[in-house]
């Protein structure tokens, strides 16, 4: 019975590992292939699954390092990791997206999403902590998401042209990265607008 489930899981996990490998810079992809090739030597369900999980973790770490440190820029001809940057960008957008949409829905009478935040804010000490930490976390994750995706789409360099060196700005168009940037900027606008109205709104009316 276990054997019946084993092969599809193994194949799916192998495919996932191959996808993770594609997020690596060209010269590191052979490490992903190295992890996959060892699978043929491993027998047993759990040892194989453990190996695949470990391999995925190692490849994810390397891919994350590649994106966050912009290591791909140092390799001539290396394509930016668009999909990884967009994926990380969307994950970073989750908390601000939840906060903004829950707050807006709460204003419109749908309180279900905002209830956990309200419950947290009902205790004074937790409310103080929330007011200090939430702007840093929300604006920080938004900024990281926008910058990360901008870094994959925009590059500044120098190129030789007849008569001298010119500064060149290259902008690539990738839909998912652009979507992540636009959502990030929209959420930043909403949050900053809310903060402005909350803090200076009464003074404006005066």
């Amino acid at each position: 019975m276990l054997r019946f489930f084993f092969t599809p899981i193994r194949i799916k996990a192998q495919l996932l590992l191959m996808r993770a490998t594609n997020a690596l810079p060209q010269e590191q992809r052979e490490w992903g292939r190295a992890v996959i090739s060892e699978l043929n030597e491993i027998s047993g369900f759990w040892p194989s699954l453990e190996w695949i999980a470990g391999g995925m973790m190692a490849m994810s770490k390397a891919a994350l390092h590649n994106v966050l440190t912009c290591a791909w820029r140092k390799q001539p001809g290396q394509e930016p990791p668009y999909a990884t940057a967009a994926g990380i960008g969307f994950i970073l957008l989750l908390a601000p997206f939840y906060f903004v949409s829950a707050s807006l829905l709460n204003q419109w009478g749908i309180t279900w999403f905002f209830a956990p935040i309200e419950h947290w804010l009902s205790r004074p000490r937790q409310a103080v902590a929330f007011n200090i930490i939430s702007p840093v976390v929300l604006l920080g994750t938004l900024l990281c998401s926008v910058l990360l995706n901008l870094a994959t789409l925009v590059s500044v360099g120098r190129e030789e042209e007849a008569g001298g060196t010119v500064r060149v700005v290259k902008v690539r168009v990738r839909s998912w990265n652009l979507v992540a940037i636009v959502i990030g900027l929209l959420l930043t606008g909403v949050l900053l607008g809310y903060a402005f109205v909350e803090n200076f709104g009464t003074q404006v009316h005066l």
């Binding site: 490490w31 190295a34 992890v35 060892e38 043929n40 030597e41 999980a53 470990g54 391999g55 490849m59």
Partner: protein, 104 residues
């Protein structure tokens, strides 16, 4: 040109495993079994050692058709020297911090 590497206890364990059979090419899974390091720990270390120029890697010719080639690793000259120094440092430190009851 190699760069400096962080020598964690896992890295030291892997280096001493390599030193035991310094001239031999080793496979990832065998290294994992011999050092008890999981793939998630082993491969980042192998990548770092390779980037630092301590490790050379190559693909083995497939032993039978349809079987994928395996990746093999071996310490370079720099790697052997570095590994010997690292493991020597670790054992010297272990000696200096040995509990007193061992001395009695």
């Amino acid at each position: 040109m190699g760069r400096t590497i962080r020598l964690s206890s896992q890295t030291r364990a892997l280096l001493s495993e390599f030193l035991e059979r310094a001239s031999q090419w080793r496979y990832g899974y065998d290294l994992s079994r011999d050092t008890d390091l999981k793939a998630g720990t082993l491969y980042p270390i192998l990548m770092r050692l390779s980037d630092a120029g301590w490790l050379e890697a190559r693909w083995e010719e497939p032993s039978s058709p349809g079987r994928p080639p395996r990746h093999m690793y071996r310490l370079t000259q720099d790697g052997r020297a570095g590994a010997r120094a690292a493991t020597k440092d670790a054992s010297a430190r272990a000696r200096s911090t040995r509990p007193i009851y061992n001395e009695v």
